[in-house]
Symmetry: C2
Subunit: 98 residues, 2 copies
């Protein structure tokens, strides 16, 4: 499957669905910050995302300190956003709600 | 145990031992960047560090993208470096060598 960059309309549609995500300044990427009860909860979450990401061969850029996780998603191969970012963001939102 | 901030001499001694670490500009903190074979290896390493960190109740600030992990260590309670950072840095160096 050839991966395709989201066009402006598709990007706008995606952001309408992904209400917790916002565009990164100066980059075609989306970001979200998540706060957990403690490090154990934050890293447990990261581990679930890591398993998903490695299976999907689509990895986040992320920063963690204690109970906070800042995630940026973009698709290197298309130099912007693709459906892989949307899918990973949806997965993150879904498990964060749990 | 009261945690004590490393004084200038202790900090210099620690950095002599921790050859792969350097001081962060404008902060009393140390940093190291590690590169792995792939995401699986990088996240496996992060998991080992996470288990150590949570047991020691001393957590890193870290950023990961794919096979790269950038780690910053500092001790919030002393607003600088403490023996906990030195111990965590040594642990990181030890398992990275493996």
């Amino acid at each position: 499957m050839t991966l395709k960059k989201l066009d402006a309309q598709e990007q706008a549609d995606a952001l309408t669905t992904l209400k917790e995500w916002s565009l990164v300044d100066g980059r075609e990427a989306i970001k979200r910050t998540l706060v957990f009860k403690d490090f154990n909860a934050a890293f447990g979450f990261m581990t679930r995302v890591a398993l998903y990401a490695d299976k999907a061969d689509h990895h986040p850029e992320w920063f963690n300190v204690y109970n906070r996780v800042e995630i940026t998603l973009a698709t290197h191969d298309v130099q912007g956003l693709s459906v892989r970012d949307v899918n990973l963001a949806k997965f993150i939102d879904e498990i964060f709600k749990q």
